[in-house]
Every structure is written in structure tokens, then in C-alpha cells.
Amino acid sequence: MIYLKAILSLAGLGAVFGIMLGLAAKKFAVESDPRIEKITGVLPGANCGGCGYPGCSGLASAIVGGSAPVDGCPVGGQAVADKIAGIMGIQAVHARERQVARVMCGGGADKASSRFAYIGIKDCRAAELVSGGPKACTFGCLGFGTCVKACPFGAIEMGSDGLPVIDEIKCTGCGKCIAACPRGIIALVPVSKRTHVLCRSHARGAEVRKVCKVGCIGCGICVKTCPNSAIVLEDNLARIIPDKCDNCGKCIEKCPTKCITMANESDSRVAVEAGVGASGRPSTRNEDSAGCCVAK
């Protein structure tokens, strides 16, 4: 009897509230555009925020609302843009060329020197706070893999030389690693542009030579060599203008410090695999540079 009373009274309460809510749901029903749901379904669903909207559903409502283009998702690329164009009932547009992230530093642990032994938290942002980081070059990659942790797609691994290696097949160009890197070494570039100056140092040539074997010394030979005048020298650093570069590779041959390189997809993965094979873990150099670097 006592159980029955308890069960019935609570069930009664529940039923009353249930009916009340049911009626309210009818009265306050909100019609949402069914296209938003459809587009959200088509989008990758990683909620990476690479489009500039809060998550995939945020982009979907922006597309339906007309404030974002159908190719607004940098991750999905052309395939997704076509599907969304289909849902929106408009002509498919040509999506922008796929962008991939590239690490613009070639100064691995064997090529660039350190100033002191850093034994703090293994995070580039933390290391940067300690007197500008252990690396002698204040522009170079610190190699603690903050970008590796930031990548939502698992496209970045630490190479055997203590520099991150980006798998350009997995990379979606969302830009998370760029935001994570305290030194702004990573840049988004069109995937077809493969010639890059792997240096971000604005220091004068003599200083660069002191701290790194493969830094850009700002000699300007590449600027003179380039047949398309696609290279400019800005503040002691050569910069390749992607629109003009046709990957001819002449600058690579002439560069005295070999800081200009041709990005090669197979190379980058070989490097990662070599790192794994050497010690069973890909981040051997990372650990070296974290604790055991002696100032030279």
C-alpha cells in the first residue's frame, strides 16, 4: 500500500508535467530550416572551427543564412562544397585550392644550436616563456610538439630531427596548429606550391649563421636567380610569392644555406617512419632537445 501510494503520486506528478510540457512544445514550436540539418550532415563534423564559425552547425546555419559561401569549409574541400551546393540548389562553385600547413623552419636539433638546457613543461608555449626558449634562434621551431597536440586530425608528428612533420594527405588546412604555435612558424599554403623558404628568421645574416646551419641569411641570391621574380627579400628574409612561383627549383640549387626546399610528400612520411623505426617512438629528438641540450 505504501509503495503503491508513492509510485502513484510520483507517476501522477510526472504525467501532469509531461502533458503540460507536451502542450507547451506545440505552442512554442520553432520551425528550423531543414537545410541546416542536411548541410550539417554533409560537413565533416570535426567542429574544428577552421571556417571561422563555431562548429559545423554554426557554418551550416551561416551558409543557409547566406553569410557564408558554400565552399566555406576548408576541411571538406571541393567534394563537400559540391554537396552543399546541391542542397542549396545553386551551381557548384570552384572551391579554393586545398590549403595545407607547412612548417617554415628547417633548423632541426642537428642543424640549429641551443642556448641552454630547458627542463620545464614540454610545451612550446611554456618554453617560449622561459627567456624566449632554449633555441639559440629566436625565430626557429622549439620542437616540443605543441602543434602535434593541437592538430585535431592527427596530421602532425614529430620527426626524428625534432621538427614537426605534416602529413599533407591528412592535413585539412584548418589552421589549429598555426594558432597553437607561439612563434608563428607554421603557414597555410596552397598544396600545389611546393617551393618554400624554410626559415622565419629576420636576424642579420651573420647572426643567423651563428645559430643555424640552414637559416636564411638574406643574401638575395634567390631573388636574382628566380626567372619569375617570385621571390622578394623582406627584412633579411626571402619570401616566395605563391601566385608567381612555378616550382622550377632554380632558387633551391643556388641557395648557399639550402634553406629553400621542395616539399615532397613521400619525403615527409619517410622521415616520420624513420623516426619511429629508430627508437619505437617518433619523438626521440624532441626529448633530447627538451632536457639534454648543452649550450654551445
Binding site: K5, S9, L10, L13, G14, M20, L21, A24, F28
Partner: protein
């Protein structure tokens, strides 16, 4: 009437739910980044707490006490609060989708906001009648709103202050909340009853 004023000011200042009773901290920290959303949250909580107070009072004295089911108080009250929050959620989604977006997960979380259950149980414990219950509910929620809006104002200004990296975000928010709590402790000395001539 004077007694109701005492209950009201005691609820807002002396027994402030967040800064004195330490109930409802989750939305207090979570939705206090901007004054606008904090105010929206405050309004939602005022509605839920006022209505929940009255309904739980009715449930207590018309269902639980006559049927001798006092031990079901917590679960019955939670049921009332959950249903009310659902209702508020629907209304806000209809009336102000922007506020709905801004409140995000914290809106359904009012259900588990212990301040709401707290006020319902305190009403019963203090043997308030229905008018006093309603006033106490509104006062408790007004205190919550006051605290969260003040806090959001401070946090908005802190955004521009040079803050050590390690303290940015929640650490500093918690320190700020602690200092506010100490400040509100000052109200304890008020003799409200004497102030209103009781």
C-alpha cells in the same frame, strides 16, 4: 509586509545563494564572461526559482504531507524543477534564439543548479507560507542575478588587464569570486529586522 521585506533583503544580501551559501557555482563561473548572457541567465533563474518555489511548496503541502510521503521530497522537487527548466528552454528558444545560443549547455543545467533545489528545500525547512515562499524564491534568484552580473562586469574589465599567463581564465575567476564572497560577508552584520522596525 515588513517581514517579507526582511526575507527579501536577507535572501539577496545576507544569505546570497552564491556568495554566502555557495550554491549554484557552476553557472556562476560558466556563464559570467559577458554581462548580457549573465543577465539572461539571471532572468531565467529568477523565473525558474520563483515558480519552482511556489510549485514545490504546493507539492509538499498538498501531496507529500497528506500522503505521508516526506521522504520523496528530493525526487519530487527535482521532477518539478526539471519540468520547469524544459518549459523555460522552449520559451527562450522561441523568444530569443540568441540568448538560447549564449546560454548553451547552462540552460538545461539549471535543472541541476543546486540553488534551485536549495531554495525549495529551505522554504520548507523555514516553515514559510506560500507568500513568504514566493518572496524567498524571487529573492534567492535576485541575489543570484546580482552576484552573476557583478561578477560578469568584473570579468569583462579583467579581460583588458595585464594578467599573468598562469592566472588567465578560471583561476582568476575563482579568486575574484572568493574576494566577492568576502565582501558580501560584510552584510552579515546588518540587523535587517531592526532596520525594518520589527
Amino acid at each position: 509586509m515588513r517581514e517579507l521585506l526582511v526575507i527579501f533583503f536577507a535572501g539577496v544580501l545576507l544569505n546570497n545563494f552564491i556568495l554566502s551559501r555557495f550554491l549554484g557555482i557552476c553557472p556562476f563561473i560558466g556563464v559570467s564572461k559577458r554581462i548580457e548572457t549573465a543577465a539572461g541567465m539571471g532572468m531565467a533563474v529568477i523565473f525558474v526559482m520563483a515558480v519552482a518555489s511556489v510549485i514545490t511548496w504546493a507539492v509538499q503541502y498538498y501531496i507529500l504531507v497528506p500522503l505521508d510521503l516526506g521522504y520523496l521530497q528530493t525526487i519530487a522537487f527535482i521532477l518539478v524543477i526539471a519540468a520547469l527548466v524544459q518549459l523555460v528552454e522552449m520559451v527562450i528558444l522561441k523568444v530569443s534564439p540568441t540568448l538560447y545560443q549564449a546560454l548553451g549547455i547552462y540552460l538545461p543545467l539549471i535543472t541541476t543548479n543546486c540553488a534551485v533545489l536549495g531554495v525549495a528545500i529551505i522554504n520548507i525547512r523555514e516553515n514559510y507560507d506560500i507568500i513568504q515562499t514566493a518572496v524567498n524564491g524571487i529573492a534567492g534568484a535576485a541575489g543570484f542575478t546580482l552576484a552573476i552580473i557583478l561578477f560578469a562586469g568584473i570579468r569583462e574589465r579583467l579581460d583588458f588587464a595585464p594578467i599573468p599567463e598562469a592566472l588567465k581564465g578560471f583561476p582568476l575567476a575563482l579568486i575574484t569570486a572568493g574576494l566577492m564572497s568576502i565582501a558580501f560577508l560584510g552584510f552579515t552584520g546588518f540587523k535587517l529586522a531592526a532596520l525594518f522596525g520589527l
